[in-house]
Amino acid sequence: MASISVEHLTKRYPSGTLALSDVNLDVAEGEFVAVVGPSGCGKSTLMRIMAGLDTPTDGRIDTMAAASDAASTLPSAVVFQEQSLFPWMRVAQNVAFAFDSLGLPKAEVDRRVAKELALVGLTDFAHAYPHELSGGMKQRAAVARAFAVDPPVLYMDEPFGALDEQTRVGLANELMSLWDRTRKTVVFITHGIEEAVTLADRVIVLSAHPGTVKAIIPIEFPRPRDAVSLRGDPKFGEYVVRIWELLR
């Protein structure tokens, strides 16, 4: 488990464009945070910097993690927006590849891969190649890959962005049930406001040019939540409208 604190984060591209300006953000241990904002607001850049895939121009990110069994897991894992499974590896190999740097015994890796694939309902597709899977199944496999290494922090960069609405809602429920079992700290980047309200404990609203935190909206629905029945709750609509207003 880990908490994250982002302080005065600024990112300026070599071209001079200011992508992020003085972003301040705290994510509590075991919290599910969603980041929304107009396209080009730097939300993906923010996640990439937090995940260590990009470097900030200024500011700092502190991740306070429990020191326990740091050797047997990664500090964080990422679920990417596009097709991110290696096309040349079968589904189980893709998930097992996440363990590459951890040096666990093969039997242990196999056990955890099988368990995670079972949780996302892909046991029968363990030996399939990604191109044999539907878009939703590919993203379930990518989610399984991230959960399998059991990292304290999970970064998700519009993981369901390319999927149709029905599949997205189904996957939101699956993600919430996986998360309920483990209560990892999650930073979920999305352009879907309804998706953010469905999933998150707090929604971070970014404004564009340059990207900075405009508002933080706590979502006070009890858990466990259901992505479908939540939509019938009058408060759901209120949250969505409030975020829309902030984004205009």
């Binding site: 990417f80 097709q83 290696f86 590849f97 740097s101 191109h131």
Partner: protein, 252 residues
């Protein structure tokens, strides 16, 4: 290939052979220089059954395979390194740009000086041609890998050796295969050309020797053997491609 396409593919060489036969029998072509295909086939079978053709083909094939391995393996490894590391690329790119355009046939005399009259000169001729094609194609293959896969590798802290052999190599494999196919073509040219001198065996020697003896029949038999050798290697590679790159099947 659909059944219709396959039928056209089989009909194509047959139709050309028939046209040729017709052109010779109507004296449109000089049979002294262009023997009718029926005669070429008969001669080919005669030379093939004498065992001479098999021996020559085996020598050429051997030189081709050894040269491809000597040139292709380092070429692929350097191509991978160039695709991955900008410093390696900065170093090798101008070197490749300077040396690649030299016609490889033109360095055969130099190779004979360096390696003498033995097999090494022939291997080297093939290796030099294959080396550059594999460097160029492998590098292009690595650079066309979708950056998302490099992000995944970084996010999951993939170790350098795993990154090299389980991400870059398979990611570049479609281009590497294209490089191998091009290499086979240039390797046949160089293997045959290297046999024009300083050897008494090989299809290149057979062609050169037939010219010296004004033996058109034997010349054609050797040419047919070169053609069949290249054709079998190309189609053989196509078959292994399906096995080596199974994830590519879906895109076709």
């Amino acid at each position: 290939m659909t059944r219709g396409e396959r039928a056209v593919a089989i009909a194509a060489p047959i139709s050309i052979v028939l046209l040729w036969q017709l052109a010779v029998s109507t004296r449109f072509l000089n049979p002294g220089l262009f023997p009718p295909p029926s005669e070429i086939a008969a001669n080919f079978i005669a030379y093939a059954s004498s065992g001479e053709l098999a021996t020559n083909t085996a020598w050429t094939l051997g030189r081709l395979v050894v040269g491809c391995l000597i040139g292709g393996i380092p070429g692929t490894l350097i191509g991978l390194a160039m695709g991955m590391n900008r410093w390696v690329r900065a170093y090798f790119q101008p070197v490749v740009a300077l040396l690649y355009p030299i016609p490889k046939i033109a360095i055969l005399p130099l190779l004979y000086f360096i390696f003498g009259t033995g097999e090494q000169a022939k291997w080297a001729a093939v290796a030099v041609g294959v080396f550059f094609l594999m460097v160029i194609n492998t590098e292009a293959g690595v650079r066309q890998i979708d950056p998302i896969y490099l992000d995944v590798a970084r996010a999951y802290r993939i170790r350098p050796m795993s990154f090299y052999f389980r991400v870059l190599l398979p990611g570049a494999l479609p281009n590497i295969y294209a490089g191998i196919k091009l290499s086979i073509g240039i390797a046949i040219v160089l293997a045959v050309a290297s046999e024009f001198q300083l050897t008494r065996v090989g299809l290149g020697f057979a062609i050169f020797n037939a010219q010296q003896l004004l033996d058109v029949d034997r010349l054609y038999a050797a040419l047919v053997a070169v053609s069949l050798l290249g054709c079998i290697l190309t189609y053989g590679l196509d078959l292994t491609e399906r096995w080596a790159i199974p994830w590519r099947r879906a895109r076709k």
